[in-house]
């Protein structure tokens, strides 16, 4: 799976594995922290899925299977760095401190954003595939001009990798040696389309043709994800330019709650990946090599349950915004056509639907 080139530091069985170039120096507590992160984001994600099933969210894009890719990369980010998600990176959002309720807001369809990106140094979900990669490169060019010791990380999928914007972002990142780390989560699917439709060779090779390094990491191995992305961020901050990291992983669930994967993939394939679960292997490592006791695992599960419950309560409490919210923040300065709309709608609501 994933080929020879796959960087792996932790096997699906939870065994540490040597690698010529990368070594995990994480402490027991740090690994436990990652485990906790993964358990929590998975639990939150399950809660969100069930909230959607109950009609409380318009949609949800589950991250199941990709917890290690997201937590490893997210935790590698320094507080000074800035990251750009696609729409499935609830795990990364968690590492940036975005409150779970804010992650859910966009899926409750009460807003099109959800949080203040400046506060978390974490941008907003981008639905148009790949658009955010150019923002990331531009932001990174700003870092260069500020002479700041910061880097940018940007997430996109195997499907999005075919978009012109993503490929142009490679051109620009290379030309300007921008401090940006591209994290391509290859979860093997773009809705119903397998990765083989987007490419005939491993996607990390794309970087070769643009003149910067590309690597393929076991995206279900949080230790490897952490080390590889951390190294790439260091490189970026040191002025050595961009890196493409292909996190080889699997989308265990549906594309979104609107999707029906039984139409295009067989359960047996999914089953194979269940044995590579990113959370279980860390648990095995912690239990076996770091002697973490089951009570500690239970505590974490409880904490996750509590957070899920809080998420549920927060979501249920989210009322629709006032309709005239649509006129706010369209522009930074007043615009007469927007204000005309506000007046019209307000008058209508006042007269007809009070």
């Amino acid at each position: 799976m994933g080929g020879e080139e796959l960087i792996q530091l932790l096997t699906p069985e939870g065994e540490r594995r040597q690698h010529d170039d990368y070594e995990s120096t994480l402490t027991r507590d740090e690994i436990l922290g990652f485990y906790r992160d993964m358990v929590i984001v998975r639990r939150l994600c399950n809660e969100a899925t069930s909230l959607q099933r109950q009609g409380q969210l318009a949609l949800w894009a589950p991250l199941q299977g990709q917890e290690a890719a997201q937590i490893g990369a997210g935790r590698a980010l320094g507080p000074q760095d800035f990251a750009f998600p696609s729409y499935r990176e609830h795990g990364v959002a968690w590492t940036r401190g975005v409150p779970p309720a804010d992650m859910a807001r966009i899926f409750r369809a009460t807003v099109t954003g959800g949080w203040d990106p400046r506060q978390y140094r974490y941008s907003l979900p981008t639905v148009v595939l790949g658009d955010q990669t150019l923002h990331a490169v531009g932001y990174a060019m700003g870092i260069q001009r500020d002479g700041a010791d910061e880097a940018v990380m940007v997430f996109f999928g195997d499907g999005a990798s075919s978009q012109g914007d993503v490929l142009e972002s490679f051109v620009w990142a290379a030309s300007f040696q921008a401090p940006v780390v591209f994290v391509l989560q290859n979860n093997q699917w773009a809705i119903s389309e397998p990765t083989s439709l987007q490419t005939r060779i491993p996607l990390y090779h794309r970087a070769d043709g643009f003149g910067f390094p590309g690597v393929r990491v076991d995206g279900n191995d949080v230790l490897a994800m952490y080390e590889v992305t951390r190294r790439a961020l260091d490189r970026a901050r040191a002025g050595e330019g961009p890196t493409l990291i292909e996190a080889f992983t699997y989308r265990m669930g549906a594309h979104t709650t609107s999707d029906d994967p039984t139409r295009y993939r067989v359960e047996a394939d999914v089953e194979v990946w269940r044995h590579r679960d990113p959370v279980e292997r860390v648990k095995a490592l912690l239990a076996r090599s770091h002697r973490v006791r089951s009570s500690r695992f239970a505590e974490i599960a409880e904490e996750a349950d509590a957070l899920a419950l809080a998420l549920r309560e927060d979501v249920l409490a989210m009322g629709p915004p006032p309709a005239t919210d649509m006129f706010d923040d369209v522009y930074a300065e007043p615009h007469p056509w927007v204000e005309e709309g506000r007046r019209t709608l307000s008058a209508f609501l006042a007269e007809v639907a009070p």
Binding site: V127, L129, I191, Q198, A323, M326, V352
Partner: protein
């Protein structure tokens, strides 16, 4: 006559198009095994093969650009853009190539190409899934633009569009995909660009297309109870527009109300109003009026019902229109 949903009617229409000409291809994201996110292409790949119903790598510019190349080779590709908000990466290929190649080649290249665009809102979706981009395409000479509003029209118009030698932007009101209606499998209702009077009336001419036809008809029913007799015209053709039908109606009613989901400014509604006030200047008893979405990005869908013209808002605007009497 058969009852079916609009999604099914499109599916059947595409099936007939695929059957009738081996040069007809379908190209789009997830249109194969999945049958498209709206299932409009359900079962077609199974029946016509992967060479004719083609799952596309995720790149809209390439979807349209390769279709242009296929048209140069004599193919007729029906492109599915997954949602309206994802057509913009293909904008250059649409306006600079598909729209201009027939002219550039002095008629040598025929751009047999249909771009299916599930458009407009009303399904509670997240951002970019509810847009009304038709004005961009109507403004662009070289393209043709249509919008269907009933299963019967969907069934026939898609076949007419595929058979047409010009590039057609085919707008499908996604909130009506699941509405059922009678489909006449034998006879097409009328030409691809013809407007249709869905309800005759004497007092006001109401023009709508796509999702707003139903709203207009409901508003007409409600208005009738108040003694106002609305004529509802389903425009269908947006480029060209059948303005003769609209003008003939306005000459009788003296009043025009255009309903659209799109933002009002420089829109299809602007054009209808501008053209009709030129053609029917002496017949208009009140300013020609638009009821539109607002000049804001399509809002979070929890408040989309206030963005999209509703029956109530149409009636409210109608009241204002009726206050004029010149």
């Amino acid at each position: 006559m058969t009852m079916m949903t609009m999604a099914k009617a499109l599916n059947e229409g595409l099936r007939r198009a695929l059957e009738s000409d081996r040069h007809v291809l379908l190209l789009g994201e997830d249109i194969g095994k999945l049958g498209g996110v709206f299932r409009v292409t359900d079962g077609l790949q199974k029946d016509f093969g992967e060479d004719r119903v083609i799952d596309a790598p995720l790149a809209e510019s390439a979807i349209v650009g390769t279709s242009v190349g296929l048209a140069m080779r004599g193919y007729r590709t029906v492109v599915e853009i997954q949602f309206d908000g994802f057509v913009y990466p293909a904008f250059d290929q649409i306006v600079s190539q598909a729209a201009k190649l027939h002219k550039r080649s002095a008629g040598a290249y025929t751009m047999g190409l249909v771009i299916r665009l599930p458009f407009q809102g009303g399904i509670g979706a997240v951002e970019h899934h509810s847009e009304s981009p038709e004005a961009y395409f109507v403004h662009t000479a070289g393209l043709r633009v249509v919008a269907c509003s009933t299963p019967n029209d969907a069934y026939w118009m898609i076949q007419q569009a595929v058979a047409h030698d010009d590039p057609v932007i085919f707008c499908e009101p996604k909130c009506r995909y699941w509405d059922k209606g009678e489909v006449d499998l034998e006879n097409p209702p009328t030409g691809l660009f013809d407007a249709v009077v869905r309800r005759p009336g004497r007092d006001v001419t109401v023009v709508a297309y796509g999702s707003m036809v139903k709203v207009a008809l409901q508003a007409a029913e409600a208005a009738a109870e108040e003694g106002r007799d609305l004529e509802v015209i389903d425009l269908r053709g947006l480029s060209p527009m059948d303005l003769d039908t609209v003008a003939a109606s306005v000459e009788r009613t003296g009043r025009l109300l255009v309903i659209q989901e799109a933002p009002p400014i420089a829109s299809v509604g602007s054009e209808i109003v501008a053209a009709i006030q030129e053609r029917c200047f002496y017949s208009l008893r009140a300013p020609a009026t638009r009821v539109s979405g607002f000049y804001v990005p399509y809002p979070a869908s929890k408040i989309e019902d206030e963005f999209r013209p509703s029956v109530d808002r149409v009636l409210w605007s109608l009241d204002q229109l009726m206050e004029h009497d010149s």
